[in-house]
Every structure is written in structure tokens, then in C-alpha cells.
Amino acid sequence: MSGKVHSINKPGFLVYALLAAFVLGSVFPLYWSYVMGTVTKERTLQSPPPLVPGGHFIDNAKRVLDQIDFWSALLNSVVVSSIGAFSVVAFSTLAGYAFAKLRFKGSNMLMAFIVMTLAVPTQLALVPMLKQFSNLGLDGTLTAVTLPWLVTAFGVFFMRQYLVDAIPDELIDAARVDGCSQIRIVWTVAVPAARPAMAILALFTFMSVWTDFMWPLLVLQNSDVQTLQTALDKLKIAPGQGLSDLALLQAGTIMATIPLLLLFIATGRHLVSGIMQGAVKG
């Protein structure tokens, strides 16, 4: 590692201003969603819309807890997302390394095939997929929710593209000359070089599984097992209440997002600063 990053270019005011503008744009809708979750249902309907938080978040949150089994859904989401993140990173790193650095027959074709699977329109694949899971007797289980997240085309492609330039071939050759087995090279050479990408992929996968909705909704439709996103969907049923209760829905959304946000803040710093440690070239 060559220490300082671009020590030559000290970012000027303009850089900060641009970034600040971008972040502001990113955060505002989030802020506004928070505002909607802290006002009364009636206030969400009035014009002009509220722009500052009200004091009703606790009330709304209590209603959420009354209507859905929030805690078990939370636990399920944590389990599913953790398994998904771990598994995607492990398998994608292995496969990505193989595609990036190892020569084997058919590797180009197999890689192209993997990328092509990204083009399969999910809308239609879901129906037979569900049938398949039903045949396997897995519908209504967390296993069914997790299975598609064991390894993803996205993850393999991502790791491959990252590793192709991130590891100098000489390093691998040297390891081979030392008599290292393939799997050991992965462990001693590829993993350290891939760490930043692995961190990013883990974070992304965790978030993607956490916010995944379509698939869990399908397989868990008649199950008592729910993830956070499918449980939130049930908030739309409000007996005798008329139209949808935006305050309740937003409060639920906030409650489902807070754990993710906490995790993000707790680990995110390490994850993104981990990006730096990856620069093995240099």
C-alpha cells in the first residue's frame, strides 16, 4: 500500500459542495418518510404535506407492534440476510477468482452464461420457480427464502470483474511455484486482495436480502413464518379504517429500516475503510 491517497489532490470546496448536494438529495426522501411516520394519520392527508416530524412515532410504532409479529419477523430477516450475505460472498469469491485467474476449459462460455442469466425477466421465472419449490416441499419455509440467495450471478460477475485486475498474475504464479494448492492460493492471495470487494458485496447482499419482497411474499404467503417486508405488507389491512394509513405504513417502514441502519453504521465504517486496505498493487 502506498499510504496516502492522492495526497497530491487536496479536495477543494467544490468537491465538498458537490458531495453535500448529492447526499442531501439522497437523504431528503428518507427524512420525509421519517416525518410521515411521526405524524398522525389525519395529518398525512392534509395539504400542504408535513415537513417537520410530529410527536406520534411511538403511537404509530405501538400500532405496528399490535398488528404484526414484528420481533419474530425481525429475527427471520436477520437470519436470512446473514446467511445470504455470508454464502454469496464465499461462493462468489471462489467462482469469481476461478473465472478471473484460472485457465480452464469452457471458462469463457460458462461466464457468459452466468451473465446471461441476469437477463432472465424475473417476473416470469417466479411462477415455475414457485412450482419447483412447492415440488420440493419447501414453500412456506425460510429455506425457500434463502435458497436463491446462496450464490448470485451478480456476485460471481462482480468478484470476477474486481479480481481480474486486483491480483497480479505473478503473485499467483509465485504461490504455485511454492507448491500451494488452489484453495490455499485463494485463501492466502485472493481473499486478502478481494477483501474490499467482499466487504461491499456482503453489505449489498445483506441489504438486498433484507429488502427483498417479491419472492418471500410468494413463498410465505400462507405461512406463519414472515420476514420483515412480508409482515409489513399485512399492515395494509386496517379493519374498518378506510383508506391506507400512511402514518402506520411509514412507521412500520422506519422500524424495519432502523436495524439495517444500525448495522450499517456499526459496520459500514469498517467496511468502507476496508476498501483502502485492498490496494495490493502498488
Binding site: S2, K4, V5, H6, I8, K10, P11, V15, L18, L19, F22, V23, G25, S26, P29, W32, S33, M36, A95, F104, V115, T117, L118, A119, V120, P121, T122, Q123, L124, A125, L126, P128, Q132, L147, P148, V151, F154, V156, F157, F158, Q161, Y162, D165, G179, C180, Q182, R184, P196, I200, M207, T211, I265, G268, R269, V272, I275, G278, V280, K281, G282
Partner: protein, 322 residues
């Protein structure tokens, strides 16, 4: 170092012969072992759906029929290709795609470059660009629908303050594309930024140092060193956002106020995936027609992604050659 097991060392051929053979196998087969998990999972959940929909697209299957009906040849494909709504959906999809993916990749690259500098509070900046991604797409649509409501929405009220007439976010074709692209860009730009940033971090710092010794400014460095060095990742970002962008569904579907989910009353923002979805719930041969549409969409995406790949490579090769 390769550690052979005690049994292996005692084998008749002698330790080194076996070690060599093992090593050869290791080189030959380990790669297949490494990539196997993907294909196993895909075989279980992906292959069957693909083949099944392909097969079905050549049959009739009435809406409530319990069994697949007669083979109909290419009729389902003909139905889709001659449907004016399909044509409209095709244009809409490409339009929304251009309004979302292109600015997204460009902005993400710029923001990544800004983040790849010696910022104060670097980690915080990096994390905050990813914030929108913690919001589930459905929840994001909830927020943005309220912002883009044609009359009572926040966007038009703000425009009103500065004296601009309200925009028909749902009725005007281009405005609806813009609104949907905004929703997409909001959630995904930060995501792509971090991917690109990770690649930029892997670029050797020595390259920059020698370049600046040669007197290259930061813009030149970005163009001549950074971009060529992160080419594989750029290809990745472009290909995945192309594929994702052409399959856009949740945002326009949830943005839609038309009760039939036509993507606006005049189909002005119906996308191809929405078309597939609607067809799957239509009155005549819903599933086979939807399967035909889905296969057409699949081929289209592959085609555009390939084109994209070729173009990106060509441009970047030229950039690298300079």
C-alpha cells in the same frame, strides 16, 4: 505449502508422484469445483423456469384451465409482436432506461472520483451515499408517489413556489419517464458509486504519483489512468445496470395510478416487464402469451447488453491506447 495427508505419503507410488498427480488434478479440476455452487443453485431454481416458459410459449392455456391446451406454433409470439401496446412498452422501456442508467453511471463515476480523494470524514461521506439503498423498493415507491402526486404532491408544490406550472407527472409521457428514472436513480446511484469506488481504490497509487510528477492535472489523471484501470468494473456496472434497467418493474408499477396498471391511461410509461405481467393476467391464454413476451424481452436484453459491452470495450480501448 501443500500438505498431503499421512496416508497419501505412504502410498505405493511414493510421495512425490502422488503429490504431482494431486497437484495436476488440483489445477485441472479445482476451478470447476469453485464455480460449481452457482450452477447447482441455478439448476435447482433457474433452469427449469427458463425451459418451462420457453416450452409453454408455444401452447394455448385458457385462463382457468387446469391443463395446458393445444400447441399453437408461433401464434403467441405473433400476438405479442403485433400488439400496439407492446410497441409502446418497448419505446417506454428504452426511454426510461436511457434516462436512468446513463445518468446513473456517469454520476456514480463522478461521485466515486470525488470520494477517491483525501476527504475529511471519508468514511461518513462514503456511507451516506449508500443510504437510499437501505430503503426497500416498495417503501421508496410509497415516498416518491407522495412526492410526485400530480396535484397534491410535494414536487409540484415546490415548483409552484418558484412560479412554475404543475407538471403532469403521471399524464405527460416524458415527465412520467423522468419521475420514474428519478426514483430509480435515487436508490441505485450510491450503490454503483461504491462499486466503482472499490475498483478505483485498487488502482496503484504509484501511477498517480508518477503522472503528477509529469505534471498531469487531476482531470487528466482521471481520464488517462483511473478510467482505463477500472475498465472491468465499469463493464460490470454498465452491463448489470443495463440488464436491471431494461427489467424495470417495481417503480413504474407502483407509480401507476391507472386502476388497470396500464402504465398510465395511455400506456405512456408501461414497461416491457409490466407488459409481461399484465399479459400473464389477461383474459386469453395469459400464461403462454406472457411467456412469449418474456422470451422476447430476454433476447432483447441480451442483445442490448452485448451491444453495450462491445461499445464500452471499444471506447475504453481507445481511452487506454491514448
Amino acid at each position: 505449502m501443500l500438505k498431503t495427508s499421512p496416508q497419501a505419503s505412504r502410498s505405493p507410488q511414493g510421495p512425490s508422484a502422488l503429490r504431482q498427480r494431486l497437484s495436476r488434478w488440483d489445477v485441472k479440476y479445482a476451478p470447476y469445483l469453485f464455480v460449481a455452487p452457482f450452477f447447482i443453485v441455478f439448476a435447482v431454481i433457474g433452469l427449469y423456469p427458463l425451459l418451462y416458459t420457453g416450452y409453454l410459449s408455444f401452447f394455448s392455456w385458457p385462463r382457468f384451465g387446469g391443463a395446458v391446451g393445444d400447441p399453437v406454433g408461433w401464434a403467441n409470439y405473433v400476438h405479442v409482436i403485433t400488439d400496439p401496446v407492446f410497441h409502446k412498452a418497448l419505446v417506454n422501456t428504452v426511454g426510461i432506461f436511457l434516462l436512468s442508467s446513463v445518468p446513473q453511471v456517469v454520476v456514480a463515476t463522478i461521485i466515486a472520483a470525488l470520494l477517491d480523494t483525501n476527504l475529511r470524514g471519508r468514511s461518513w461521506w462514503r456511507m451516506s451515499v449508500l443510504l437510499p439503498y437501505v430503503v426497500a423498493p416498495a417503501a421508496a415507491a410509497l415516498i416518491w408517489s407522495a412526492i410526485f402526486a400530480d396535484r397534491s404532491g410535494l414536487a409540484n408544490q415546490l415548483l409552484g413556489v418558484v412560479g412554475i406550472d404543475p407538471i403532469g407527472w403521471h399524464t405527460d409521457r416524458f415527465a412520467s419517464w423522468t419521475a420514474i428514472a428519478t426514483m430509480v436513480n435515487w436508490r441505485w446511484t450510491g450503490y454503483n458509486t461504491l462499486i466503482i469506488l472499490a475498483a478505483m481504490q485498487a488502482v496503484s497509487r504509484d501511477l498517480y504519483e508518477s503522472a503528477s510528477l509529469d505534471g498531469a492535472g487531476s482531470a487528466r489523471q482521471f481520464w488517462n489512468i483511473t478510467l482505463p484501470s477500472i475498465r472491468p468494473t465499469m463493464i460490470f456496472v454498465i452491463v448489470t445496470s443495463t440488464m436491471g434497467g431494461l427489467q424495470i418493474f417495481t417503480e413504474p408499477r407502483l407509480f401507476d395510478t391507472n386502476l388497470q396498471h396500464q402504465g398510465g391511461a395511455n400506456y405512456q410509461f408501461q414497461t416491457l416487464t409490466m407488459y409481461v405481467f399484465n399479459t400473464a393476467n389477461s383474459a386469453t391464454d395469459p400464461y403462454p402469451r406472457a411467456a412469449a413476451a418474456a422470451w422476447l424481452l430476454f433476447l432483447l436484453i441480451v442483445g442490448i447488453a452485448l451491444l453495450n459491452y462491445v461499445v464500452t470495450r471499444a471506447i475504453q480501448n481507445r481511452g487506454a491506447a491514448r
